[in-house]
């Protein structure tokens, strides 16, 4: 899955996803990707979030909605991502997935679990190229 966030100079936000889902899924299965609050969520008042991983779990706990609401309560994007991830791990200890959040100041944070590392891409007005970031997962 690709999960994507865009914020313009005026603080207008959008988020989205695209995926072909899991290998060998039962026909008809849909994961988190097309569900708002699961695969992606955004609100111009706060910022945006996207997720990747086990969609059958993420669609039950709405981590991108939680991440955005965490930022609304004052958390940094990284704190918000970790908290949203921990809420999943409390119920599903073997969950595998990752979250990215961006607030309307353009600050980026991410958290992941189940993978060794998680990489994501960022392009801002400060750089002339896209930067690939990699974080270790819990």
């Amino acid at each position: 899955t690709i999960g994507m966030i865009a914020i313009d100079n005026n603080g207008k936000t959008a988020a989205g996803t695209s995926t072909n889902g899991l290998n060998h899924k039962i026909p008809g299965r849909v994961g988190d990707s097309p569900i708002p609050g699961a695969g992606a969520y955004t609100d111009d008042d706060v910022g945006a979030a996207v997720a990747t991983g086990d969609g059958d779990v993420m669609m039950r706990l709405l981590p991108t909605y939680q991440l955005v609401e965490n930022m609304r309560q004052g958390m940094s994007p990284e704190e918000a991502a970790r908290d949203a991830l921990n809420r999943i791990l409390k119920r599903y200890s073997t969950f595998e997935g990752a979250l990215i959040g961006v607030n309307i100041k353009g600050e980026v944070g991410a958290a992941c679990t189940g993978f060794e590392n998680f990489s994501f891409c960022v392009r801002t007005a400060k750089s002339t190229n896209t930067t690939i970031h990699s974080i270790p997962c819990v």
Binding site: N9, T19, I26, T124
Partner: protein, 185 residues
Amino acid sequence: SATLPIVANTWPWPQATDAGWKALISSSDPNTAVLDAIQAGCTRCEEDQCDGTVGFGGSPDENGETTLDALIMDGTTLNMGAVGALRRVKNAIGVARLVLDNTEHSMLVGELATEFAVQNGFKEESLATNHSTSMWENWKSKQCQPNYHINCIPDPSTSCGPYHPASLQSNSKNKTGNIRPDNHD
């Protein structure tokens, strides 16, 4: 903020970021620029079949068919468009954008989403490739392992279907832990 505008995406797919960035800064309509960025970035990954987890020719289901899911959401209006289990149309995020821009609904699914897309000018074509067909045939040759069935007979951990419900106590199992960077939502 000095860091705005910004485009970010999951996984090391900078070509998608670049496509989104280009759309964002070159859009002629400031009201749709961020949506254009999302659509352009996701479309790029669909065309590139990023890691086999986006777009056509990846993640065949138990019948060997690739289906696509996509979402696009506007943070100003909280309006959205989405498709689930879209069949035989490659540009899933494009159809999701169509749902956003040209309907009052939020999500269309399956065969009827395909019908909507085709009526609106999208090309209908197989999403299978030699690679996805090979993946499916290899899976079948390994007794359909792994799969996502539980509590059924014959034992899904050793056999292909068709399956029928069994006692919940007799055949339960934990989640397979099958999610990897090359297999994820």
